[in-house]
Amino acid sequence: MTGEALAFYVLAALTLASGLVVVTSPNIVHSAVALVPSFLGVTGLYVLLNAEFLAGIQILIYAGAITVLILFVIMLTEGGTGMRARQRNEQGPIGAAVAAAMAVLLITVATHTAWPRGAGTLPAYTTAAIGRSFLGANILVFEGTSIVLLVSLIGAIIIARKEE
């Protein structure tokens, strides 16, 4: 087994194991904290794929900011403990059915795909390539995203203002 394959299996196991903790833990704070190793495992997979810019952003946004915001919100509710927040509700069977259908779909797709190798070569410096793509061919999508973010920002301010 090559080092790369070994690294992949270790990272995949880390991602899946902590993902399992996220969905099964009865304690909501444990779930939120378990997101961090899961995100870090995904970061490692990005690094294995030579996507260093995505890896950096993954840590900064997901492991750093999103997890912190989730924890922050949990601690602001329920007297700061999050212990009484229910993790399950009466919709368990429906959720299980949806999850099973999704699993069947994913497994079917995975087994029926030919998995061809991508054409072309990786750019030497993906950060610059991503920047060019954002401000060149995909500028409309990029600007559309920024408008969506701006709208949510303004919405958040308006909601916060109402309470005054």
Partner: protein, 326 residues
């Protein structure tokens, strides 16, 4: 290089960084902090252990090693124990991309990542996860309040810091720390980017939770904030993380704005150390001469002053970069 040798190198590097940071940054940093605070307050500071009190922190560390580890009864044992690892680890990860100097063989850096600056921002953002874990895991209201304040503060100050980092990267045309230092061969960035330097310094002070931004551990209201319940070596590890993070921030400021290892006559590593300690002195000077902010002033300052100024600075810099490239 085969992968197991790479792995071995990573382990060796980790041990090197850990011991170097533990001894130089944390131990010497604490001593320096006490000496400088004493000097500012017209006291003598530690004086008795070793010549001029030089071994005081060593004695304190040995003392802390022997202390009992107390876990509060209602605390969450897993979160409580693992927070201690997250905080220093996140601080130590910063050192991977800091170029300490240059030799004939090339720059003295653990790994010159081509996303160096982004990597630094990302790893320093991880500290707050550890702080939140410590605050919640202790099952103590003061610790929880400290953790909450830390989350609000660090999320707010990461944005101006990131904008200052982007401005510098824009000037150098690269995210690699070595390239950024090389781009400052003619003119240090502090001359061309004084605004970004100031923003970075202010945001760094807030990120490492030092006065005037130390609401996270404000002793007059929160005992010690998120690490109130920690004793013995666990307490020492939080101190290590805090001082490690402060040294990393200062080292990054040197790299980005003060020309890194560059300077005349003296060897590059020495120049780096001189600049590093000059900035450390500024951090300590600020800590012992300014009163603490209030939390709303602190957050308002970031969102209403620092972020608009940093954005404006970024736009102006981008404009001049584009004009220069025409």
């Amino acid at each position: 290089m085969p992968w197991y040798l790479e792995l071995l190198r990573a382990v060796a590097g980790t041990i090197l960084i850990f011991s170097g940071v533990a001894v130089i940054a944390a131990m010497f940093g604490v001593l320096l902090e006490r000496k400088i605070s004493a000097w500012i307050q017209s006291r003598l500071g530690p004086k008795h252990v070793g010549p001029q009190g030089l071994l005081q922190t060593l004695a304190d560390t040995l003392k802390l090693l022997q202390k009992e580890n107390i876990v509060p009864r209602r605390a969450d044992p897993v979160i409580f124990a693992s927070a201690v690892i997250v905080v220093p680890l996140a601080a130590l990860l910063d050192y991977v991309v800091i170029p300490f100097g240059t030799t004939r063989a090339g720059p003295l850096i653990f790994r010159d990542l081509n996303i160096g600056v982004l990597y630094f921002a990302a790893t320093s953002a991880l500290v707050v996860v550890g702080i939140l874990m410590a605050g919640w895991g202790s099952n103590n209201k003061y610790a929880l309040l400290g953790g909450l304040r830390s989350a609000a503060q660090m999320v707010s100050y990461e944005i101006p810091m990131g904008l200052a980092l982007i401005t510098v990267a824009l000037l150098a045309g690269s995210l690699s720390t070595v390239t950024i230092v090389n781009a400052q061969a003619g003119l240090w960035n502090i001359v061309s980017q004084p605004v970004a330097f100031l923003i970075f310094l202010v945001a760094a002070t807030a990120e490492v939770n030092r006065t005037p931004f130390d609401l996270v551990e404000a002793e007059s209201e929160l005992v010690a904030g998120y690490f109130s319940e920690y004793t013995g070596m666990r307490f020492a590890l939080f101190q290590l993380g805090e001082y490690g993070e402060m040294f990393a921030m200062a080292a990054m400021a040197v790299t980005l704005f003060l020309g890194g290892w560059r300077g005349p006559i003296l060897p590059p590593v020495l120049w780096f150390v001189i600049k590093l300690y000059a900035l450390i002195f500024v951090f300590m000077w600020v800590r012992w001469t300014f009163p603490r902010f209030r939390i709303d002033q602190l957050l308002g300052f970031s969102w209403k002053v620092l972020i608009p100024v940093a954005l404006l600075n970024l736009v102006v810099t981008a404009f001049f970069v584009v004009v220069a490239h025409r």
